[in-house]
Symmetry: T
Subunit: 69 residues, 12 copies
């Protein structure tokens, strides 16, 4: 593994259900165009409020994926 | 929307259930006195421990709301 | 309580289920050797990705416990 | 001046014109309800984009004002 | 305690004597209008200089207080 | 809007005129290849100096755009 | 001195009297089990409030000590 | 250019007109005593308020200049 | 140079040999698909440990490259 | 005051007595060569430990002084 | 791997030779008492100067190791 | 040592060879005008890229030196 180069990309996923769901939504969408995603870090958790309730969560993640040779 | 002024207020919500629930508890309490809450950011996630388990979560959020003209 | 000294230790808990579960797993493991854990702060939320899904969450927490006299 | 206590409040001002204008809009709106505003710090500069142009700037400021005795 | 919601407010206290005195001055002034203050964090320590000596200390604190039901 | 996924990209725009102009130059150039840009955040403001004057401003922004389904 | 390895440990000391006293209380307690403490950095200053006064200060320090060969 | 050493100095420039003007004022004043200024970074934007308007902007910059051999 | 727009991309390079080698490995791999790379900043230095030795270094860099007109 | 340019310089003052004393020692020493010092910010508080006690405090401050015309 | 709990410990390693050597010295010393060290992050790079040269490097690392069941 | 005052100055050293060499180049140049340099901290590591290779490293350091009485 020591010779790999990884690229990081930053995504914002949304969900009405919570943090975990927003991250999975972002990964599901990103996996359509990015292969070999390996890890992520949560950078920011925000959300929109509607009538005093969380309408949807927005979670910013940084995703690392392997650049193939 | 470009002429609005927003104010930010910082709250700490608590819940024995988790991050999402602590945020919703803070918003429910704040909506008694603040109208027009629009978005929030999570600033800190902490909690108290009792007998080796999370007793309750404490989530600090910054909430933005519209100042009416 | 004003005369107590606390020590902080940093742990990374893992879980396939989400943030709350990863924190509880870390506390359950740590409580085997640390007594008097009182509070925690979440410092980082990361995770591993397998086939475009979160395989497991990794949550870094700082835990404070009382140093007994 | 050494005995004064100040309070800080955080505001987001908006303007289609730029950073300075967004700050002045926030101060103009806030001065309707806050007296004795003394200084501000810019905490964040963001904006919305419409058709590849900045539609409006959003500047978050922290404002300090004197609490009167 | 797990169901409480707290609000955070940011204050700057001043004193010619030092950090502890500036914090206590801010709390004494704030307690005229805020009830149920529970904890504070020091965010910034600054001061004014006159003739090569500290003329007064200015300490910014974030104060948490309970929102009553 | 709650089901959208956004991607963030980081750009540095330049201008001899100032911060606002540097941001608009970056957006104008980026809009040739990125559709659906929605918001930006200013991350860094720097510049080059020539003969004791600002020769040009360099503003780093993070731009969010919608990933279409 | 160039071949030494140091370990850092994080402590929270408390005192009703102020920052310096809270640090010394933490060091006095820690010196019961840690030898060769060499330096510290203050990471956080917080406190509890009782009836509008600081009840006790809580100062988080990181302490470096020599690992003996 | 690879063998140069640069020194950084930190300045605060002021202007009633805005961010760009405050930076240029600082550079104009500094160029009286510093030669070979090459680049700057904006570190902080603050200002004073008078009667609900920005009275003057204060911009802190870090300036890099070449140390001549 | 004042009219250029740059894009930043984040990469993680690996090497058993050290920081400089990990950065050069990342640049060599990235130069297969990115032209006109101009500068980089080191954002994070990490590594994997095997039998009490550094097995390989992982260095995260942000790379700036010119967007051609 | 709006046309002044200030310069910032960073100092570390030491004292066996505490934070306030270390800051005043630094200012007293600096006032031998710097005129017109106006304000300071505390950037870091550290110290050396001898036999389980604070031997001396080291406080890093940033000092602003007026550049005369 | 998803069920493991890791503990983080912070070390400062020293070497007259450079960053890589200081990290390896810290790991070699730590491996006498810690088993199962898995990864590290560099948190700070400092050093002592003697006669205008680096006398030794001091590198602070955070090391993660597996807590065995 | 407890009564000394130190001053910090920020330098950027360059080298085609790597981090250690860039720091030593900065110190060698600075020692022509600054006496009694005692320690440094690395604040930033950057570099220029030429044809997909690091052309030279640029390391920003903060250097502490004793102000003589």
């Amino acid at each position: 593994m020591s010779d790999h180069t990884y690229k990081l990309t930053e995504l914002v996923g949304s969900s009405p259900d919570g943090v975990e769901s927003a991250v999975n939504n972002a990964l599901a969408r990103a996996s359509k165009s990015i292969r070999n995603m390996r890890w992520f870090e949560v950078k920011e958790v925000r959300g929109h409020i509607d009538e005093g309730q969380v309408a949807h969560w927005q979670v910013t993640i940084k995703v690392g994926f392997t650049l193939e040779d």
